[in-house]
Symmetry: C2
């Protein structure tokens, strides 16, 4: 999506070897018009999948996910992240290991909000090693729902997340695909 | 806002004396069409305040805040909540005491995202004791910005938050004002 690539080139900040900060338009300060455009694009890309529900994880996924859900005319559910976990029969849970923070968090979804047979679209802000998406996949599986698509705002193609999703045979759409950081410059995959 | 009151009557669940769960359309599962309507209403109510930025706290404030910001054509910033706090010269921080959880959390905003002189509108999902709003007010003050409005999705008029904000002379708009829970039924203030 050229609009998003241009915005990343203009406003993204590359830190170190492989960190891209987009906190001035995506995950701390948020550009609502851009979010509406991302939502529209995800809705267009996944419309044929007959989505029943959009699922994301708090907090950075919420803005693009809510616009996607609006355009697809379905509810959005955001999983809660917790550092400690009180197991409950009312929730689905999964462990998510963060490579950046080197710690395990848990994601939680109330069982009332994902139902057997529902066709679920996952939306997330970043795809790197794919841990958060894998956690959400476990939750969708546990609910007996069907994961029919994964929409990613920014993918880092040089980390292993995309390969994992492709191997699982999933329909994945990333709106910007970063292939390398070169001297602080972002390079996009074709 | 009648639409919201009707939805609370229909889908809200009253637990115990003073807890209202709206996790099936506001703060876990989210109805995107309703969020768009809340945002439109907030934008209408605060349009004359010439807002430069919408501020909220993760995670439940994000959906209504992003639609408000879209309609006002300004950026939205969501403060991060942390249990532990590493002080940094790059951030504004404030302590927020949770009466429900009986614990203090911290909210954090990068200094780049609130600027001196900006006219800030706070949006939050609930107003009860007003602790989260007070924390955000401290951050707006520290930045030398001006708090010109507070938009609340659901206010509990019988807790002390609204009084605090009125005493501070703020322009407060709550889209639903709950005056009491009566045998598990929600009563709205006029």
């Amino acid at each position: 999506m050229k609009l998003l690539e241009d915005r990343i080139r203009e406003d993204g900040r590359v830190l170190g070897e492989d960190v891209l900060k987009v906190d001035n338009f995506l995950n701390h300060q948020v550009d609502p018009k851009l979010m509406a455009q991302l939502g529209e694009e995800f809705a267009r890309l996944f419309r044929d999948e007959k989505i029943d529900k959009v699922l994301t994880v708090e907090s950075s996924g919420i803005a693009p996910a809510v616009f996607t859900a609006l355009d697809l005319d379905v509810p959005m559910v955001f999983a809660r992240k917790k550092q400690s976990l009180t197991l409950s029969a009312e929730n689905y849970t999964a462990d998510v290991f963060s490579f950046t923070k080197q710690e395990t968090n848990h994601i939680i979804v109330d069982k009332r909000f994902i139902n057997e047979g529902e066709r679920v679209l996952l939306i997330d802000d970043f795809l790197a090693n794919g841990q958060a998406v894998q956690g959400m996949m476990e939750i969708v599986d546990a609910a007996g729902a069907e994961l029919v698509g994964v929409g990613i705002v920014i993918e880092k193609t040089f980390q292993k997340g995309r390969q994992l999703l492709d191997e699982a045979g999933l329909h994945v759409e990333s709106l910007a695909r970063i292939s390398a950081f070169n001297d602080g410059q972002v390079e996009f995959a074709d």
